[in-house]
Symmetry: C2
Subunit: 338 residues, 2 copies
C-alpha cells in the first residue's frame, strides 16, 4: 500500500486554501504543517488554527526542508504564489496552487523553467471546476455522449465584492493580477476542459470599471472570447453580485454540443430549486434536471494517485500552463499591453 | 377619433407575418389585402387564407397603388424584403418588415435613400423583443431602476433547424443573408435596446458549421461581441436546438446592471416552471421570479400611434438602421469580407 501523502501549506491569504486542503485530506492526505507570509492578518491565522488544531504552524523554510512532504499547497497573495511554488519545486516537492497560479508572464516563464529543471508538477486548483459537484456530473453526461461533440462554452462568473472584508492586496492590480488573470482564471480552465482544447488563443478581451467610480483602478468587469482546437468559448466575469442574492455568485456554465446542451447553475438556481449543483440537460429525447450534490470531486484523489503512478489524470501540466497563459494574454490584451 | 389604420401584406414566406399582422390587428389596424411572390408555396398561401378568410388576396401592385393603405407589412424571402419596402415607401407608405430588414449593404443604402427621399418610415419587427411579453416586463423593471444602470447583455438565441420543413431559400446564403444577418438580427436589436446604445461597433464576429457536414455552406453557429455607447454585449445564435426541447429554442437574455441583473427565459424555463415569459431578478433586496405572461406588446399600438402623432416611440428610425448595419457588418466580418 502506498504511503500516505504528506502535504504542507505555505500561504493562507485566500480562503480557497480550505477547499484545497479539505479536498486532499478527504482523499487521504495528511497535513504536517502550515506557514504564512509576514503580511497575513492574524485573524486569518486564527481561523486556520481553529480549523486544523492538530496541524502545527511552522516556518516556510522548515516545510520546504522537510523531506517527508511531497506536496506544497499555497493560497498566498496572488503575486506571491509563483515564488513559493518555485521554491517548493526546487526543494523536490510538487505544488498545488490556488488560482491564479501567477500574475505575470515572467513568473510563468520561471515556473515553466522550474518544472523543466526539477521534473516536479505545478498544478493550479481551479476551484470553480475542480471543487464543484455539478461539474463532475456534467463530465459524466458529456462522456456518455448525451450532447454530442462539445462545440462551445458560455461561462458567467459574477462575484460578490464584499469591499468591507477585503485586504489591501485585493485592490492592488499588481498583487491580484487584474480581473481576467484572477477570477476569470476559472473560465479559461473550464473552456479548455469542456471543449477538450489543447491549443487556444484569445480572440478578444476587455476589462472595465462600471460600478466603482470611487476606486478608478479597480476592474469590476471583464470578458473574453476564445478559440481553441476543440471549440469556442465566451466568458464574462464581474464583481457585481447584488446584495440580495443569497450566495456569492450566480455562476453559470452553458455547454453547447452538436446534439444537446447542458446548463450548470453551480451555486444557486435563482428563485428556483433549493441548494447548489444544478445541472440542466436538453438532448434529443427530452429535458432533465439533475441534483448533482454528492457527485464527488475526483480531482483530489486523482492528484494523489498521479503522484503514485506517474499518470496525469488530475490535470495535465500542459493544461495548467495553457489556462494560465491565456489568462495572462487576455489581461495584457485588455489592458492594451499586447 | 383617428381613422383606423389600413395595412396591406406583401410577402408571407416567413410565418413571422402572423405575429406582425396579429399584433397590428389587435392594436386596431385593419388588413385590406395580401399579396405574395411567385415562389411562395401554395401551402403557405392556403394557411394564410384560412387564417384571415375575410382578407382578399390581391396583386402587390394593387396594394401599392391603394391610397387607403398606410402601412405595408412584409415577411417575404429575406433578400426580397428591401425591394418591397422601397416600393412601398416610394408609393407613400410606411413599412413594417420582418427581420432581417435586408441582406446586403447595398440594399440598406437603398432603403436609407428611400427613407430620406420619401420621409416614410422603415421599421423592422424584431420579434424576439417586440413580440415577447417578458421583454415588456423587463423594460418596466429596468425603468424602475431595479438593476441600476445596464452595463451588458448576454443573449443566447438557439433555434430548431427543422430541415425537413425548410424551403430552398433557407439554405441559400444569398437569400437568407447568413446566420448573423438573419437570426442574430434579434440580438443586435436587443443589445442596442437594453443598453440604450445609439452608437455601436462589432468588436468580433464568427460563424461556423459545427453539426451539418452534409450542408457545407450552411451556417449553424454564430457569435458576436459588441461595444456600444451605452454598454457591451455578447450574443450567440445557433441552429442546434435538440429535438427533446419542447419548444423551438431556449432563448435567454441576461441583462447585467450596476445594482442587479435580470435573466429572461423567454420561451421555456427548462425543466422548471411551466409556460413562457419567465423573468428572474436579483437586486439588492433579494431574488424574484415573475410570470410575465400578459405584460403586453406595446410595440404595435405605439407604431400606430406614432403614425398619427409624428412621434417615434415604437422604434427610432436610427435604431432600425443601426441594428441592421451591425448585423451586416458582423456577417461580413465573420465571412472575412470586411
Amino acid at each position: 500500500m502506498a504511503t500516505r501523502l504528506r502535504v504542507g501549506v505555505i500561504g493562507i491569504d485566500h480562503n480557497h486554501i480550505y477547499g484545497m486542503l479539505n479536498g486532499l485530506r478527504n482523499a487521504g492526505a495528511e497535513c504536517v504543517g502550515w506557514a504564512t507570509g509576514p503580511e497575513t492578518p492574524e485573524k486569518l491565522c486564527q481561523v486556520f488554527r481553529e480549523s486544523y488544531p492538530d496541524t502545527p504552524q511552522k516556518s516556510a523554510q522548515a516545510l520546504l526542508e522537510d523531506d517527508s512532504i511531497g506536496l506544497i499547497l499555497s493560497a498566498a497573495v496572488n503575486s506571491d504564489r509563483s515564488g513559493i511554488a518555485i521554491a517548493a519545486m526546487r526543494h523536490g516537492k510538487d505544488v498545488l496552487v490556488d488560482k491564479p497560479g501567477c500574475t505575470t508572464q515572467t513568473q510563468l516563464a520561471e515556473i515553466k523553467q522550474a518544472v523543466a529543471d526539477t521534473g516536479r508538477r505545478w498544478t493550479v486548483c481551479f476551484s470553480e471546476r475542480l471543487d464543484v459537484d455539478c461539474v463532475t456530473l456534467a463530465d459524466r453526461l458529456i462522456t456518455e455522449g448525451r450532447i454530442g461533440k462539445v462545440v462551445q462554452t458560455v461561462g458567467l462568473g459574477p462575484h460578490r465584492r464584499n469591499s468591507h472584508l477585503r485586504p489591501d492586496w485585493f485592490w492592488d492590480r499588481n498583487r491580484y493580477g487584474g480581473i481576467l488573470t484572477d477570477i476569470c482564471a476559472h473560465q479559461f480552465d473550464q473552456f479548455l476542459h469542456f471543449t477538450g482544447s489543447t491549443e487556444a488563443r484569445v480572440v478578444s478581451a476587455h476589462i472595465g470599471n462600471v460600478a466603482n467610480p470611487d476606486r478608478p483602478d479597480f476592474q469590476d468587469f471583464g470578458e473574453v472570447l476564445l478559440e481553441g482546437n476543440g471549440g469556442r468559448g465566451y466568458a464574462r466575469v464581474d464583481w457585481l453580485t447584488p446584495d440580495g442574492l443569497p450566495t456569492w455568485g450566480d455562476g453559470r456554465m452553458t455547454i453547447l454540443g452538436t446534439e444537446g446542451y447542458l446548463e450548470l447553475r453551480k451555486y444557486i438556481d435563482i428563485s428556483g430549486r433549493p441548494g447548489t449543483d444544478h445541472v440542466f440537460l436538453a438532448d434529443r429525447s427530452g429535458v432533465e434536471h439533475f441534483d448533482a450534490r454528492g457527485a464527488g470531486k475526483p480531482f483530489f484523489s486523482r492528484l494523489i494517485s498521479d503522484r503514485e503512478n506517474g499518470t496525469e489524470t488530475a490535470m495535465r501540466q500542459a493544461h495548467a500552463f495553457l489556462a494560465t497563459e491565456l489568462a495572462l494574454q487576455a489581461q495584457a490584451l485588455a489592458e492594451g499591453n499586447l
